[in-house]
């Protein structure tokens, strides 16, 4: 091969060659490297430099084989072991000598690691869900997607239909077990004088085959067979029967029928996605709910969960195809409806937060990713601090390394020493982080009500091992760059002149600082921005008044009895009844048509609330035309409706003039109803929701479930207690469920509030870490420039000039960080967040800038205090040593 000169000058990637030398046996290495080099030159000539480099790298990797790999030397391991003591001693001494730096490193790592620990804890909790089920890997949930009139807008729901369950059981081969679980088995058990409210599901005998819930009394095969059978959990059984044997006992449910206890199941493990206090036999429903339960309807997909177990190695694609066939076969039974079925593996249930109709609270993959990602950023940030500070202090350590090398330490020994040191620091940080974790745990668990139901964050041995591994990994990663740096120290240069200046490139450190402050400022601005939205939403003008209204859930009690008692209280200024509480995220919908337009045969979905005649004035809803509902007896038929402006617009009733619309008839729920009033539009869903524009109010006293009480009082607590006393008189069995309307609105945005809390907390951490890093850098820089400063001072520089000199560089970097991050946040809100949420508040730049000023003020304080120390130092003290 006669490559010309230019060819020979092309070099294969250096790192690949190094890697080859590192792993290859010494006796093979030279020859192999030569061969690859020869091929590389050929490839450069034939395929170009890029291609050749790429092939070279691939070849290096391909040669990583059993016969080429160097045997690890036992001797090496031995020396490392022997030296471990020495490493630990040196590291310990070094940590004690440089207390400030050790503190910065340990504190920074500890703070960030505590977040990492929370994430590990959450992950370990989520992953331990449902593990007690023996066949968890083969258990699936049948999920469905409801499509009406070709509207593909709905997402999958966790529920599916009883009919689908039956058809799969009857017609599908290769389904080992299948069970349908129906919701809303809740009510009061009466046993003599005792009344105990319990919650649970209706289900079939196969329940105990599909799941591994342990039946400790009764026969699993028959316990849920016959109608009016009920299986209790241990706790519920004790509540009802104390220490007596519950099997065979009968008790009355909701003052109606009596049921027999046929089994007792062991209490449900905490980490089960299905939680219940009792199970009723599904066959009961066929008797008690024969009329309203559309048992065999294909589109009754709202309240039945279906679980099934498949044999090992089932092709899911085949099964899906059969489900599609089933849908195609069944769809014609319900006009205009398509129901898509799919299987969801049991282990994915806890992550499926985008799915509606969950059987219990789920975690949500998104939240985990976001939180995990932020924790990662914070930990990387702290790790980089460590790396940064260690290298910055190279000046002090290089001579030690030089001596070590001179007396025979190899590269690997030096690396080992610094890795051990990093791990020591990271393990110290772990113990501190563990304390933080234990302090943080209760706060984290109470951020949102659901979190407490889902996580325990218990420190099990497994979790502790994971923590330990985590700390070691963090230590290894943080120590890698310093150890490589020190391993490459040139012995002679260091020992001869002592003029080693440490790393010359400071760009990296500057970039790091800017990045850390960017993260801090972004987190601060995001917290402020989201908090602004939260405040905006809970004070949002909904179009009606929610002031001083207490919403009381009737829980099946008669509204009239309660009203009579409550009317005696002087604080109660008015009372109304409604079916749901609007504007807190409750939706109740039906289909509506306008017969006045014969072409419009489809109609539209409409949201509604059923109210009484006091509701509108009590809430200050504004009628544009017509009148309020008139009082009517409970038994009267429903004939009247009040609509909002959007309804007129949707159907073009009366040329959209409210007055002309009065008296027109709408068909709602297969009933003709006359429009008696038109009210102004208001927010029916939540303030941040754009849907549910067409709204109607219906009038049917039998449908109400809430009492809305308007209260005027100076002593709210006393009033509340008075109301509670009345409630206790009327219903001694159930605790009163009453909330002020404004509190309910605030609660409906608790997710947003939790976001603010989390982002704020992470911002705090990021600021801590960035400040610690900055502190380290300032201390280091000022120490290095001590002599220079002293000479300047002797020459007549004032303290102010020196302060400016020392702080200028840092301040410029901080301003740069602010300059980058604030526009990023604003852009993020404007382009990504706002287009996706309705009725948002405009961004408040002023508030955000205050946040930025706050962060910069903390940084400035760090810079000034340290610089001042240097600037004030007596130059004579510093210079006298020369």
């Amino acid at each position: 091969m006669e490559g010309d000169m230019t060819d020979v000058n092309h070099k294969p990637p250096r790192w690949a060659t190094r890697f080859l030398r590192w792993y290859c046996r010494p006796e093979l290495a030279e020859d192999l490297e030569g061969d690859l080099h020869e091929f590389f030159q050929r490839n450069v000539a034939s395929a170009g430099l890029r291609q050749a480099r790429w092939i070279y790298v691939l070849d290096v990797l391909k040669f990583l084989r059993l016969y080429t790999v160097r045997q690890p030397s036992f001797f090496h391991f031995l020396t490392h072991w022997i030296m471990l003591r020495s490493y630990l001693t040196t590291s310990g001494r070094n940590m004690v000598r440089h207390k400030l730096f050790s503190f910065i490193n340990i504190a920074g790592l500890a703070v960030s690691m505590s977040v990492g620990l929370v994430v590990i804890g959450v992950l370990s909790d989520v992953l331990s869900y449902d593990t007690f089920h023996v066949h968890r890997d083969r258990t699936y949930r049948l999920i469905s997607r409801y499509e009406y009139m070709g509207d593909k807008g709905n997402s999958f729901m966790a529920t599916s239909s009883q009919r689908a369950a039956r058809l799969i059981r009857e017609n599908f081969s290769g389904v080992e077990e299948l069970v349908a679980v129906r919701g809303q088995f809740q009510g009061d058990w009466q046993l003599g004088e005792k009344i105990v409210p319990l919650n649970g599901f209706w289900t079939q005998p196969s329940f105990f085959n599909v799941f591994s819930f342990e039946l400790i009394q009764g026969n699993a095969a028959t316990a849920l067979q016959k109608p009016f059978s009920v299986v209790l959990t241990e706790t519920s059984a004790r509540k009802l029967f104390g220490d007596e044997d519950p099997i065979g006992k009968t008790m009355v449910f909701n003052k109606d029928r009596s049921y027999t206890v046929t089994g007792v199941v062991k209490d449900i493990p905490f980490f089960s996605h299905i939680k219940f206090e009792m199970l009723g036999s599904l066959s009961t429903l066929e008797i008690v709910a024969a009329e309203e339960w559309r048992k065999d309807a294909w589109d009754d997909v709202w309240n039945t969960w279906v679980y099934l177990r498949l044999p090992p190695k089932t092709e899911l694609a085949d099964f899906d195809a059969r489900l599609a066939q089933l849908s195609a076969h069944e769809d014609p039974s319900v006009p205009d409806t398509h129901i898509e079925l799919d299987l969801q593996p049991m282990k994915e249930i806890m992550f499926s937060d985008s799915m509606g109709n969950q059987i219990g609270p789920v975690m949500g993959g998104t939240l985990l990713w976001v939180f995990g990602g932020l924790a990662f950023v914070v930990i990387v940030s702290a790790g980089l601090n460590y790396t940064n500070l260690s290298i910055a202090r190279a000046l002090r350590r290089t001579r030690e390394v030089g001596v070590r090398k001179a007396i025979g330490a190899m590269r690997s020994h030096v690396m080992m020493q610094f890795l051990v040191e990093a791990m020591l620091i990271s393990l110290c940080a772990l113990s501190l982080a563990l304390v933080c974790f234990i302090l943080l745990r209760p706060h984290f668990l109470t951020i949102e009500p659901d979190i407490q139901k889902m996580f325990t964050l218990q420190l099990s041995p497994g979790v502790l091992v994971m923590f330990f591994v985590f700390a070691v990994v963090v230590g290894l990663l943080a120590g890698l760059v310093p150890s490589l740096f020190f391993a490459n120290v040139r012995t002679l240069q260091v020992l001869k002149g002592g003029s080693f200046q440490g790393p010359q490139k400071v760009t990296g450190r500057k970039v790091l600082m800017v990045v850390q402050y960017c993260i801090s400022i972004i987190l601060v601005c995001v917290s402020i921005g989201v908090y602004r939205q939260y405040i905006h939403y809970i004070n949002y003008d909904l179009g009606f008044s929610t002031e001083n209204i207490l919403n009381l859930s009737l829980q099946g009690n008669s509204a009239n009895v309660l009203k009579k008692e409550l009317a005696d209280l002087p604080e109660v200024k008015g009372m109304a009844q409604s079916m749901i509480v609007t504007s807190v995220g409750n939706y109740w919908g039906t289909n509506m048509r306008y017969p006045g337009n014969p072409l419009d045969t489809i109609g539209t979905g409409v949201s509604y609330n059923t109210i009484d005649e006091h509701y509108l004035p009590l809430h200050g809803h504004q009628l544009i035309a017509g009148r309020n509902f008139l009082p009517k007896p409970d038994s009267a038929r429903e004939t009247e409706v009040i609509v909002n402006q959007q309804v007129l617009k949707r159907f073009d009733i009366g040329g959209q003039e409210p007055e002309k619309a009065l008296g027109d008839v709408l068909r709602v729920d297969r009933k003709d109803m006359t429009i008696v009033g038109v009210m102004k539009d208001f927010s029916y869903g939540r303030a941040n929701d754009r849907t549910s524009r067409e709204i109607i109010f219906r009038h049917d006293p039998r449908q109400v479930r809430w009492l809305n009480i308007k209260i005027q009082s100076d002593d709210w607590i006393a009033t509340y207690e008075k109301i509670e006393a009345i409630w206790k008189r009327i219903d001694p069995n159930h605790p009163m469920e009453a909330r002020f309307y404004n509190d309910q609105i605030a609660e409906s945005f608790s997710g947003l509030k939790a976001t603010v809390k989390l982002a704020g907390f992470l911002a705090f951490l990021a600021i801590c870490i960035a400040s610690l890093g900055l502190l380290g850098m300032v201390v280091f820089t000022t120490e290095v420039r001590m002599k220079e400063i002293s000479i300047r001072k002797v020459m007549g520089a004032s303290e102010a000039t020196l302060l400016f000199l020392l702080g200028r560089g840092f301040m410029l970097l901080l301003l740069l960080a602010a300059g980058i991050s604030v526009p990023l946040v604003v852009l993020g809100f404007e382009q990504v967040v706002f287009p996706n949420i309705a009725n948002h508040a405009p961004i408040n730049l002023g508030e955000m800038l205050w946040g930025v000023v706050g962060v910069l003020a903390v940084a400035l304080l760090t810079i000034v205090t340290q610089s001042l120390k240097t600037a004030r130092a007596n130059p004579a003290e510093v210079l006298k040593n020369e």
Partner: protein, 110 residues
């Protein structure tokens, strides 16, 4: 028995070493094999075979002079050992035995 028998590719490599005489180093062997057999021969495969042949004692190697195109690295030249020669001869004889008893007529009939 394993270890004394020659695999097909091993035999080819050993023959190439023998024919190349003093120029038998990995890349040259690779090129020669590719040219003669007409199939794509991977350096990695040749390398591991050479390594195995040396382990079996059928070939031996020594390092040569450094050249410019190999980034200053020396070549490793291979030569066939006596055991290697014996193995080649044995392989050939074994084949010849079959060829000798294969009647010409039958051969044409195929």
């Amino acid at each position: 028995m394993k270890g004394t028998n020659l695999g097909e590719f091993e035999e080819l490599v050993l023959l190439t070493i023998a024919t190349l005489v003093s120029e038998a180093y990995s890349v040259a062997i690779c090129d020669d094999l590719a040219q003669k057999t007409g199939r794509g021969v991977k350096l990695g495969v040749v390398h591991s075979v050479l390594n195995r042949l040396e382990e079996k004692g059928l070939a031996k190697s020594h390092l040569g002079e450094a050249t410019k195109e190999r980034g200053g690295k020396r070549k490793r030249y291979y030569t066939v050992t006596n055991a290697g020669k014996a193995a080649l001869v044995r392989a050939k004889e074994m084949r010849d035995q079959y060829w000798n008893i294969l009647p010409e007529l039958k051969w044409k009939g195929i």
